[in-house]
């Protein structure tokens, strides 16, 4: 069973993600800020992270860079309220990008796709 880390500063959104993704069969851990996320990443192993780009006074891109640098084997999906973040080159480090929506179908499909890709990479020894 894949284990996901969801990072979002909004408690309700963390709850929504947690409920929906658990229903999909994932094990979900959540974090409200970068420090909490880094702490959990240090303690546990995750298969994928779902990051909100805008975290109150912090930037999800900053966390993305940390993950890419230290946990380069863990894929990241960025979520944002505004599609223009796609134009930020730093966001291109992520494996996928999803605009936030009450309909989580796109996010769920992306999680499946990215995890499958990761599995495929592992299988081919990359």
């Amino acid at each position: 069973m894949s284990k996901l880390l969801v990072v979002d500063d909004e408690a309700n959104i963390r709850l929504l993600y947690s409920e929906e993704l658990t229903d999909e069969g994932y094990t979900v851990e959540t974090a409200a800020n970068i420090a909490e996320a880094v702490e959990k990443l240090g303690q546990q192993s995750f298969d994928l992270a779902v990051l909100d780009i805008k975290l109150k006074n912090e930037s999800g891109i900053e966390l993305l860079q940390k993950i890419v640098k230290e946990r380069h084997d863990m894929p990241v999906i960025l979520c944002s309220a505004f599609s223009c973040y796609k134009d930020d080159f730093s966001a291109w480090l992520a494996d996928s990008y999803v605009v936030k929506s009450g309909d989580l179908t796109e996010l769920k499909e992306e999680i499946k796709r990215v995890l499958a890709k990761k599995a495929q990479r592992r299988a081919s020894g990359l």
Binding site: E10, N12, I13, L16, E19, E20, D23, K54, S80, A81, F82, S83, C84, V99, K100, S101, G102, D103, L104
Partner: protein, 548 residues
């Protein structure tokens, strides 16, 4: 010695007054001399043949004073001739000074190099000026260290000379008029006429062996004679001018070598004198200063133009900075709106869906929850459009392949088109030039048009084509399945309106707005007999992109 008494004289000098007709040298206008004996003797009698004969008779009379009278008379006549000669010289000089003054005034008042050169060369060649046949101006190119032919004036054949001089004669123009006429009508023609000579008139400035370079270096005019047989003049140079005698007049201003004027009498072969050389030499000083000043003015003007250009660019950059500040502001506002609205919407919609999943079909509250899901989704869509609209305020343009653009938009709608059994036929133009557009926004617009076209309809055909028309590549989308009234067409392109036929109007209005920002016209034609044609005119050239 015996003195013969003479009682009768042939001339009238012994009479106090005479009447008209008594003296052959007194005519109309000399009436006051009739009664003024002394003036008559000095002005008329001394030159009169009768008086000379009287004087000879007096000399022969044996009177001891007679030889003295003859000596005095001869000396008086000699001095009178000298005075006359001096008076003529003074008259000539006065005319020359007036002429130079007139030229100086014109030269001083002009900062136009062509005007200065026209005045200078016209003055040298005009009959009312120095009357030389031809004049060549060579200017110093200090970067290349050469003297180079710049302009020439004068006839190239006797026939042309006759015709030109006749025209000048009949025109009765003063020197200024002639030079203005030359500047207006003949400057370019003369430059072209002498082009073959001018382009070969090149002399290294530091060639001390060359008489022209040396004249400039020594700052002294030279009257070159026997040009075809001189050691200090290249025979080819002499052949180029075609004359064996010519004047070389250095142009020096503020101790700087400006250039050289070469003047000759190619047609008339009139002898060029030292006096000619001195006269023209005087004239070359104001010419050199005027050329130097006009050249400096041209350079200053160039610098002013550069400054103006730099200032304009600075203004543009300032405006761009303001725009960027506005962009940043818009970015902050939209980001804030996005987070303030989208996050709660997402939570509402998301939890409503979660609840809906676990709500039995027969639960009476299911309809309410479904309403929440639907409304939240609609609000999300509207929010998405508004955010895209604000994003569209600032296009980022570059050159793109128009066919690639259309193919990208067609790929985006393919799934939807297939689901609605729609066929999109793309007729790609061949060898199309690149178009200057914001690729992302323009693709969005084409995609929107295609989606609007297939919206709500099934089993249709859309024809899309690209074709060059002038400075544009036209993307034409033809929808034959729909008919729009005038009102519907107007509503289609107005933001936040709805048509019965085509649903929410924001997408199409947004497309037009995005294209407007890039100065790309979108023409929609919906004839009453049916069908709708959308034409997007994509520019192939980069132009100023208005942002406001």
């Amino acid at each position: 010695m015996e003195i013969t008494a003479i009682t009768e004289w042939e001339c009238c000098w012994d009479r106090d007054s005479i009447v008209m007709g008594d003296c052959p040298n007194i005519g109309e206008g000399d009436e006051d001399l009739l009664s003024s004996r002394s003036r008559r003797i000095l002005e008329k009698c001394c030159e009169c043949e009768k008086f000379k004969r009287d004087l000879a008779r007096f000399r022969d009379s044996g009177h001891p004073l007679a030889p003295i009278f003859s000596i005095l008379h001869a000396d008086y006549r000699r001095q009178k001739t000298q005075i006359q000669s001096l008076a003529n010289f003074l008259d000539t000089k006065t005319l020359e000074v007036r002429f130079l003054h007139e030229l100086g005034s014109v030269l001083q008042s002009s900062v136009d190099l062509d005007e200065v050169l026209s005045v200078a060369l016209t003055a040298i060649t005009a009959g009312k000026g120095f009357g030389m046949n031809r004049a060549f101006l060579l200017l110093a190119d200090k970067e290349r260290h050469i003297l180079k032919g710049h302009l020439a004036i004068g006839p190239r054949s006797a026939e042309e000379a006759g015709q030109t001089w006749q025209e000048i004669e009949s025109g009765d123009q003063d020197l200024q008029g002639l030079s203005q006429l030359f500047l207006k009508d003949k400057l370019t023609a003369e430059r072209n006429k002498f082009h073959d000579i001018l382009e070969r008139l090149i002399i290294p400035l530091d060639d001390e062996q060359h008489i022209i370079a040396r004249a400039l270096e020594e700052r002294k005019p030279v009257l070159v004679t026997d040009a075809f047989h001189r050691q200090d003049l290249d025979i080819d140079f002499a052949r180029l001018l075609g004359v064996d005698t010519f004047l070389v007049l250095p142009l020096i201003a503020r101790n700087r070598r400006v250039g050289v004027i070469i003047a000759d009498n190619f047609i008339t072969h009139r002898t060029i004198t030292e006096q000619d050389m001195r006269s023209i030499e005087t004239f070359t000083f104001p010419v050199a200063f005027a050329i130097e000043r006009a050249s400096l003015y041209e350079r200053v003007q160039e610098e002013v133009d550069k400054l103006k250009h730099a200032n304009l660019r600075l203004q543009e950059q300032q405006e761009q900075l303001v725009r960027m500040e506005k962009m940043a502001l818009v970015g902050r506002i939209t980001s804030s709106i996005a987070h303030s609205i989208r996050n709660p919407l997402m939570v509402i919609g998301g939890f409503a869906r979660s609840i809906l999943k676990n709500t039995p079909d027969n639960d009476p509250k299911r309809t309410f929850i479904e309403s929440i899901v639907t409304e939240a989704r609609q609000l999300e869509e509207v929010l998405g459009e508004i955010l895209t609209y604000s994003d569209a305020l600032f296009p980022t343009c570059d050159f793109w392949d128009p066919n690639q653009l259309v193919e990208s938009a067609l790929r985006d709608v393919q799934e939807r088109a297939v689901a609605q059994d729609y066929s999109c036929h793309f007729h790609a133009g061949e060898q199309l030039p690149s178009v200057y557009i914001d690729f992302k926004q323009t693709t969005y617009c084409i995609r929107n048009i295609l989606l609007s076209t297939i919206d709500g309809l099934y089993n249709g055909i859309i024809d899309v084509s690209t074709r060059v028309e002038g400075d544009h590549v036209n993307v034409r989308i033809v929808d034959r399945n729909r008919t729009l009234s005038e009102d519907e067409l107007e509503a289609l392109l107005t933001p936040f309106t709805e048509t019965c036929e085509m649903g929410s109007g924001l997408n199409m209005a947004l497309s037009r707005s995005m294209l407007d920002k890039q100065n790309i016209p979108l023409v929609v034609v919906a004839p009453p007999e049916g069908g709708v044609t959308y034409t997007i005119k994509l520019p192939t050239r980069k132009e100023e992109q208005p942002y406001e």
